[in-house]
């Protein structure tokens, strides 16, 4: 029998998390969720107030994983070409030359995505979905792996274009950072801003190692009993009278993928109900809408979990 909890030398995941948590203080759950999102080959949406460390989290992950990082600050006057790239006429060669936009990078931080117009948003979201960019009749593949970490201000803030439902669904996870706790904030104040530490971060993974991790995540075992529970959870969202609609089959697949990554990050080779419960808020909140019009909150999901006995 293999032990459930890791006892031998730290796994790559543990090392990545340790490195990231050294920079982002007091947010271990969110870092772990963000890493799980990448391990499950999904895009991440971070929603919170400005200044709580959204950008730092994205940047840190890119650095720790050794990925090429690019950042776009979305504004309301931004055009799709600003993201995808543009062809310009090269006078020397007499040809058009494509200048790739920031989207041609491994980790793209799309800052304040809901400040851009829907047209620009959808240009990015198409790239996320297809893994390639088509401009002026020519299709260009994006680098492998390609992650988008988008940040979003709460839609109650002025000057925002809230992402429509269909586009929210492209994000595997949505997390909120929240204020740091007392101790973390004190440590932050004592050591100064976090951005300065970023260049000093070293990469934890060798080339190709992340792809291998992703491969191992996809083999984490999910037993029939676990799938029973997953289906029960999904069906509960569909039957819940307070919700406009339930989780889609795609969301169910996403839930399983993230739960696998979560179990893997715990050093396990099997998914437990706890894994589903831990990742369900991040998977489900942005996909479910209450009858009152707002998105489901973590406490709604917690109530749903509590109302459903394990099979």
């Amino acid at each position: 029998m293999q032990p459930i909890l890791p006892t031998t030398r730290p796994s790559p995941v543990t090392r990545i998390l340790a490195a990231a948590n050294a920079v982002i203080l007091g947010k271990s759950t969110q870092t772990r969720l963000a890493l799980c999102c990448l391990l499950a080959k999904g895009h991440l949406l971070i929603e919170d107030l400005p200044g709580v460390g959204k950008t730092t989290l994205a940047h840190t992950l890119a650095r720790v994983l050794g990925f090429q990082f690019a950042r776009i600050q979305f504004t309301s006057d931004m055009l799709p070409a600003d993201i995808l790239g543009v062809s310009i006429f090269d006078r020397e060669s007499g040809n058009f030359r494509f200048l790739p936009g920031p989207v041609f990078s491994q980790v793209l931080l799309a800052d304040e995505i809901n400040r851009a117009t829907p047209k620009t948003q959808s240009a990015l979201l198409e790239a996320m979905e297809e893994g390639q960019v088509t401009t002026e009749g020519e299709t260009r593949p994006l680098p492998e792996p390609f992650f988008v970490i988008a940040t979003q201000n709460p839609s109650t803030q002025i000057g925002t274009f809230p992402l429509p439902e269909s586009q929210l669904d492209r994000f595997l996870l949505r997390i909120e950072l929240g204020y740091p706790d007392h101790d973390a904030e004190r440590a932050l104040l004592e050591s100064g801003g976090r951005r300065e530490q970023l260049p000093t971060l070293s990469t934890c993974l060798g080339p190709g190692e992340f792809a291998a991790l992703q491969q191992r995540v996809s083999t984490v075992y999910s037993s029939p009993a676990l799938l029973d529970y997953l289906q029960a959870l999904v069906e509960a969202t569909r039957q819940d009278a307070r919700l406009v609609h339930g989780l889609s089959p795609r969301a169910a697949l996403s839930l399983l993928a993230v739960a696998r990554a979560w179990a893997f990050s715990d050093g396990r080779q099997m998914v437990l109900p706890e894994d589903l419960q831990a990742v369900l808020p991040a998977v489900a909140c942005h996909r479910l809408r209450l009858l009152s019009g707002s998105h489901a909150g973590a406490e709604d999901i917690a109530a749903l979990i509590r109302s459903l006995p394990l099979p």
Binding site: M1, Y221, S223, L272, E274
Partner: protein, 655 residues
Amino acid sequence: MSSQPSHALEHGTVPWLLAGALATAAPHAGHLPLWLSLLVASAMLWRVWLWQRRRPLPPRWSLALLVIAGVAGVAWQFHSLFGKDTGVALLVLFMALKPLETHHRRDALVMVMLGYFLLLTHYFYSQSIPTGLWLLVAMTLLTGALIRLHGGAQPITAIARQASLLLLQALPFLLILYLLFPRVTGPLWGLPEDAHAGLSGLSEQMSPGSISNLIQSGAIAFRSRFAGETPEKADLYWRGPVFDSYDGITWRAATPAAGLPKPEPVIEASGTSYAYTSILEAHNQRWLLALDVVTSLPPESSLAPTFEALARERLRIRSRVSFISAVDYRANRIEAPGILQQALTLPEKINPRARALASEWQSLPPEKIAATALAMFRKEDFHYTLRPPLLGVDAVDEFLFGTRRGFCEHYASAFVFLMRAAGVPARVVVGYQGGELNPVDGYLVVRQSDAHAWAEIWLAGKGWVRIDPTAAVAPSRIEQGILAALPEGEPLPSIIRLDRDWLRQLRNRWEAANNSWNQWVLGYNPQRQRELLSRIGLRDPDWQSMTASLAILCGLALLIVTLWTLPRRRRVDPVQRAWQRYCAQLARRGVCRAAWEGPLAFAQRVARERPELAALTSEAADCYAQLRYGRSGDEPLRRLQQCMRRLPPTRRKEL
């Protein structure tokens, strides 16, 4: 224990508990002192407010003060702390105050159990159908509270459905216990008040107004069902008390002379005999209101010298009696001289004009005298009314020659006076006349509004002959009933005045339902039980064989229910069973696994709450996780089972 979340009471359980408590306590408001009802209501409202605002419950000392004050109030009100009413008042008080200290599940359980007990106490006060239905609702609410308590948050409809299903499953056991549990003769606890509630009925005397007052009640006096055909309406004279002593205002039964043997009535019946069974409402008198005149009596009853059927005891409970009667009869053709003498006695001096009129008739034969008197009532300007003018000392004179407006008691009284004054032995008979057939169950319903008074004269060779002077004045009273005989606007009870067909039909159905309830639920006594048992082959069973058959039938019912539910019960595999048993063991040690809690999360919580159990639980949870969610053989199952055996023994205080 309060630190353990699993023992704390869930917020959502409280409304169920309060609804159950309210439904259970509310009907008692009718007979509790007002201050107590108000106290109960305000305690419940207080709890609702606390629940809504999620405020903490009041401190222990304030509750203690409330309890002491409440108990003192009850003791002061009832002058005792014992007895039925006091006990009920105390239980209701506790039921209202307990919600204010429901911190834990245990408190809620106590409340529900108290509620179930309190349900029973309602039957001290009422055993009617509405009470039964209401208590069914209250019981469903209490069961719902229990389900909410154990099953967690669910939609109301789901809880209601499950509660109803549970109660429905109890139905076979209810029937078996109800039908077979050894019955004792007479009630165990004293009767509910409505068993002889509204003890209205004929009284032991008759004066002007006594019957017209009784008539204003639409209450049922008795119901009768004839085995064969029903007699003509004009023959339906139900005999109550016979009055042969008059003091000028009031008619009473004469006290029989002491020492003389009671003369046996001699009845020669001819023509059709009618067999029937009456269900008499309690009226706290001995007479059984049989159809005139009885030829065969039920056991434990006797026929008085004046032909009324009498029970051995006063009727304090609803009773079922069977008679055979004949409407063509000759009764006491030879009458005891003492009775004849009494039937001629009149008070001195009063009513001189009536006496003078009667003395003119003295030369006529007795039949002629009666016919003359009746002809006078028929021809002269006499009126039948519920609202006659008041009469003075010479009541008969004033009525006969002055007011000429009266109800049956006036006519019977005046007629008998005239007969006696003319030398014909006569007496007043009081009872009921008529009745209305309820087509729903075929029972003839006789109400207080059918109360009637008539006269009897004794004729040599013919015995006692019934003469109804009211029939001379208002023939429709006898042929069609009181409603047809009285003019519009007389104050009759509305229940008999229903002019719409559907209303009348509704009343008939309701009364028929009540009748069946009375007979089969309330009237299920040892005798009926014996009848039923002999029908299923148990003749004269003693309590041992009854208990044995009870046990066998309950066992059978249990078996059927089990077989019925078995296929739907999911087969629990050994892994699940071992884990559930381990968790149950931990629950006994104070840590409950929530139904939604996964094994590792539970182990982590145990490590926080009960560090001494952490290692073992962590191992058990590991094993379970491997078995259920991983890919492993059976080896962890043995270890999981060993973990349970290695648990330290429970300490008493943790229970």
